[in-house]
Amino acid sequence: MPAKQGFLITVRTARQGAAMEKGKLSAEYVAETATLTLSPRDYEELGLKEGQQVKLSSDSGQALVTCRFSEGPDGVFFLPLGPTANALIGEQTYGTGVPSYKGFNVEIETLDA
């Protein structure tokens, strides 16, 4: 199973915002907050297809996410703010009160077919 180390950054997306206001229990919110954006090169390297599910692991947890691609830096993955991202973020705030929402190391791993 191909795997790759990378850097995860949580972001806002228009779809996440709109779905959140429709209802956090809505299928749209759940789906959008579990959708990871990767660069086309990372996509190619991992042999991914649009909409494929992968496993993300950090020092703090694991989560299953669905992939979409978009122009961006290689090795940096973007996940909308929400419960899926929160399962991966560590508790350390380094004395600031703010956990590392904008950047921590993760491993991305494709699942068995």
Binding site: A14, A18, M20, K22, G61, E91, G97, V98, K102
Partner: protein, 432 residues
């Protein structure tokens, strides 16, 4: 039923607080909204619809029972936390502060983990800032740093910044230059004249080098090709020249700065850069505040306690220490033994460790709609929705207070009424 049209209604989603919405109400329900973004539309159409049930420990309860249970939980706690407030009115914030003081508890708001570092930076170096009206009327250069308003503050460009037509910017976009600093191309950066795609976590380094360029200090170890934050120095010189030549520049910064490596130090250095630029021209900075009244939280908390966030009353007077009294740190350390959550949804926004800590203690939540926290909180109190079924004051990202009107009726009380009721009961419990 006849349709009533309400004009100049305030959107209560983001800190831009667009106040030109037109809401169509039929049978006490918002059925259509005009002059609104996609997120604001959903907020208006769904913000008062999906009310949670009033519950105590999973059982349906009356409001009186919920108030009694809440007061009991809070009065019996040794270290209660009063937290949230980013989507409720300033008037309710004030009673929240009072409740925390009576309880000798912790007090924090959602800026704690979003723009809080920018608030701390302001305490250290101040903030040369302006209003959104000034940005609209005067700015011929706008810079967005770590912000993507096309997806988070969707009407910011058209109402206040990039495309807005103002007194000295009558042609809107044609009268302005726009620069974006971000770690990836975004819908916002696609509108920019200059886009700087930077390495994540390099904001402090970039702001430091920009300060040196602005102040014309020697940079002997760097050439024009040297990469600073992944971008050649020659391109940063372009930005500095653009700033020096403009008449009025506003740097809007987002949580790309406050939540990445460096946090408050990033904002401090950016503000110092902005101050330095004022030797040449008029340059201001403004945080792109997220939740609609998160700025109001900081305002009210400062009036009432002297501090904007991360406060503890456990010695009977307010003390302030981010990292110690911040909501996430308090929960992760297990320092909280009961919590009242107002107008936010920690289960959707906090790391799971903090959410797990909340699930282990008595938790009371006030929310106008079902959320991920109302699913499991011990006491759930449905409330009216600020800006739809509750009136009050919100603070825009530029510190301008804006009055929200009530346009529909709601069978449930406002956050303010609920907090006053719980406060009275806590006072009675403490007196006996």
């Amino acid at each position: 039923m006849p349709v009533t049209i309400h004009k100049d209604i305030v959107c209560t989603f983001c800190g831009a607080l667009c106040d030109d919405l037109e809401m169509h109400v039929e049978n006490n329900k918002v059925i259509d909204v005009k002059n609104v973004c996609g997120i604001g539309r959903n907020k208006a159409l769904h913000g008062d619809n999906d009310k949670p049930e009033c519950r105590v420990y999973g059982e349906r309860a009356t409001l009186e029972e919920a108030y009694d249970a809440s007061a009991r939980m809070l009065a019996q706690a040794r270290s209660p936390l009063v937290y949230g407030f980013s989507s409720t009115v300033a008037e309710a914030n004030r009673v929240g502060v009072e409740l925390a003081e009576i309880l000798r508890g912790g007090l924090d708001n959602c800026s704690s983990y979003c723009h809080g570092p920018g608030v701390l930076a302001r305490q250290h170096v101040g903030l040369p800032t302006c209003t959104l009206g000034e940005a609209k009327n005067r700015a011929d250069l706008v810079v967005f740093w770590g912000a993507n308003p096309m997806e988070s503050h969707m009407r910011h460009f058209s109402r206040y910044s990039v495309q807005a037509k103002g007194m000295y910017t009558p042609l809107g976009r044609k009268d302005r230059k726009m620069a974006v600093v971000d770690v990836r191309p975004t819908p916002s950066s696609k509108n920019a004249d200059l886009f700087f795609q930077v390495t994540p976590g390099s904001d402090y380094e970039i702001a430091t080098v920009l300060r040196a360029l602005v102040l014309e200090m020697p940079l002997p170890t760097l050439t024009d090709d040297s990469l600073v934050g992944g971008v050649p120095l020659a391109r940063w010189r372009e930005l500095v020249e653009l700033i020096k030549q403009c008449k009025y520049c506003v740097v809007f910064f987002g949580i790309g700065l406050t939540q990445s490596q460096g946090k408050d130090l990033n904002v401090e250095q950016l503000i110092r850069l902005v101050s330095d630029c004022n030797r040449y021209t008029r340059v201001y900075a403004m945080p792109m505040r997220g939740h609609a009244n998160v700025n109001g939280n900081n305002q009210v908390f400062v009036w009432q306690t002297g501090y904007p966030l991360a406060i503890s009353f456990n010695r009977g007077y307010p003390r302030f220490n981010p990292g110690e009294f911040s909501v996430i740190d308090m929960l992760n350390r297990g320092d909280v033994d009961a919590a009242i959550i107002v107008a936010t949804d920690p289960a959707a926004h906090l790391p799971y460790t903090a959410v797990d800590a909340l699930k282990k203690i008595p938790t009371i939540v006030l929310d106008p709609v079902n959320s991920l926290t109302t699913e499991w909180a011990n006491v759930v109190i449905p409330v009216a929705t600020s800006g739809l079924s509750a009136a009050g004051t919100y603070y825009r990202m530029d510190n301008v207070p804006i009055r929200l009107r009530k346009i529909i009726d709601c069978e449930w009380p406002t956050d303010l009424e609920v907090l006053q009721n719980i406060k009275e009961r806590v006072l009675n419990a403490k007196d006996h």
